[in-house]
Amino acid sequence: MAQITYREALNQALREELDRDERVFIMGEEVGYFGGAFKVTDGLLAVYGEKRVRDTPIAELTIVGAGVGAAMGGLKPIVELMTINFGLLAMDQIINHAAKIHYMFGGRAKVPLVIRAPQGAGHQLGAQHSQSLEAYFLHCPGLLVAIPATPADAKGLLKSCIRQDNPVIFLEHESLYGVKGDVPEGEYLTPLGKANVLREGKDITIVSYSKCVYDAVAAAEALENEGVDAEVIDLRTLNPLDTATVVESVRKTGKAMVVYEGWRTGGAGAEIAAQIYEAAFDHLDAPVERVATLDTPIPYNARLEKAALPGAADIVKVAERMV
């Protein structure tokens, strides 16, 4: 095991897949000479050249659309959106094209495209640069959604996404790029649709993904001091969604909370809660709770921003009420 950052883990995954498959290439704004707005693609241009690490104009719709076309033409494009906020300009190509092509052509076409995008708040970047939009993509059949929390998963999931044939939205949290974690030496893949039980417990299940996983773990440690034994599940991917692991845990604990940085209303938490109700209603001793971002745009002011976002203290407070 080596301790590396989430950013380095992604960079390793890209290098390994570029080495492994000639069809794999990267394109996006600033991915080449700049090394990526968040430096995820740093150093790749020098090794792989402009053909495989391609800087694009600022034209998100056509960056993604060209990715779709290149995938249909037999390549395995990895498109980087500078942030998911800018990805909204590409929604037509993501939802109407990438997600539909395999289906509406009766299975006769495929779009093996990975769209990577940073997202999330916490850096006082204001309303247009701080959103967590995974629910938009989770809602749409035909798209996979990967949303890793740890460096090891960032690497293993990205490699798995590149090697399969569906279009994927791969969401990275901007606050995680510098986070270090153990990453296995050598080649490995993290399977899509397999949640990770980070901490076993018997009193309450905390389901989370992306950055909020760290808050969930911190909250579980705090709760332990109060004699509450929390189980923490990192979903890793939202589509496929590992409902089985969540339900199994809820059957044991009888209580569940979903923690996520998307807006509370209509977020992934609502879907996960609904699935828990459908599969484990009789095992629940309390309503499923959602700890999420307040239903406001993200404000600039640091104090206000922090108050809008879910944190470990919020999780502890809600858990105390539930048990």
Partner: protein
């Protein structure tokens, strides 16, 4: 004037083409017209439903352009794509069956009139979002260049796509990267019911090529040879690595925007003027005048086509509906490649 030059080239094309080639152009155009007429009939009989946009009147554009390509070249199209798909060589049976929503259709009944796809023939699909196909065409062009293959991508779209951001983004990217794409704008003068001059600040659409540093020409889209000649030139340029071109083919749809549109925003007089310029009649006259074919030969082709259309309808009618268990198929591809 671009149009004069293209006319001259078209005249030359007529002289240099073999009789077989000329008759093939005629046959393909008649096939599309008869196919569309039959589709209208089947639509009114409730056999075909949903949105259905017919190509009658515009045949010279699809046939002229696609006949100038090699088989392995790619075509990207719109929701008015029956003509492009047939011109590329797709089976009329499979196209008609798709319109009937049958399991034997090109897209297994999951696509319909607006979503035909024939990968083997490199007909890369009909897309029903205005302008949606242009970024895809750029991406296909990128794949061709990446693999160092000799193909070109021919991308059809209507005048309605020009104000879309996708048009401008895709032209910029294609020109910047010298992608082998031939952009063909079918200017039928109406985006649904809105006149071009009420939607676009520059009515001479081919002039949008200039800011994107690519050749732009306006051709008579009712003259199959003019479209053929312009596409040959643009495709050759793309194949040689010199980048994309924009061809504006002025044309006219003989029917409304879709089957539900009686086209009341157009005058009868205007329709008559364009009907007189019918691209099929135009080629027919030309072939006979120049002694390249006689009436009997052309009539024989028309009869052959009529039989093909009847066969396609029979095939579509007799084909099974998609099984209900295909409803959830083709949403995802499993890790082992299964659907």
């Amino acid at each position: 004037m671009a149009l004069e030059r293209e006319k001259h080239i078209a005249e030359r094309a007529l002289l240099t083409m073999t009789e077989t080639q000329l008759l093939d152009l005629y046959r393909r155009m008649v096939l599309i017209r008869r196919f569309e007429d039959k589709v209208a009939e089947m639509y009114s009989r409730g056999k075909i439903t949903g949105f259905c946009h017919l190509y009658a009147g515009e045949e010279a554009v699809a046939v002229g352009a696609i006949s100038a390509l090699y088989d392995k070249d790619y075509v990207v199209s719109t929701y008015r794509e029956h003509g492009h798909c047939l011109a590329k060589g797709s089976s009329p049976r499979a196209v008609m069956a798709e319109l009937f929503g049958k399991a034997t259709g090109l897209s297994r009944g999951h696509g319909g009139s607006m979503h035909l796809f024939d990968g083997e023939l490199r007909f890369m699909g009909g897309y029903a979002i205005v302008g949606g196909g242009l970024p895809l065409a750029a991406g296909l062009g990128l794949a061709v260049r990446y693999k160092e293959e000799p193909e070109v991508v021919c991308c059809f779209f209507g005048d309605g796509a020009l104000p879309q951001g996708a048009f401008h983004e895709a032209l910029n990217m294609a020109s910047l990267w010298k992608l082998p794409v031939v952009f063909i704008c079918e200017n039928n003068f109406y985006g649904m019911g809105t006149l071009v001059q009420n939607a676009i600040c520059q009515e001479e659409l081919y002039k949008f090529a200039e800011p994107y540093k690519m050749p732009g020409v306006r051709v008579d889209g009712m003259d199959v040879l003019a479209v053929h000649a312009a596409t040959l030139e643009a495709a050759a340029r793309a194949r040689e690595g010199e980048g994309p071109s924009l061809i504006e083919a002025t044309t006219y749809r003989f029917r409304g925007h879709s089957m539900s549109d009686p086209a009341e925003y157009r005058s009868k007089r205007e329709e008559r003027i364009w009907q007189e310029r019918d691209p099929i009649k135009h080629l027919r006259r030309k072939l006979i005048q120049d002694g390249r074919a006689n009436d009997a030969r052309l009539a024989a082709i028309e009869n052959e086509v009529a039989a093909v259309i009847d066969d396609a309808v029979k095939f579509a009618e007799e084909s099974p509906e998609p099984a209900l268990d295909t409803l959830g198929k083709y949403v995802y591809i499993d890790a082992d490649g299964a659907e």
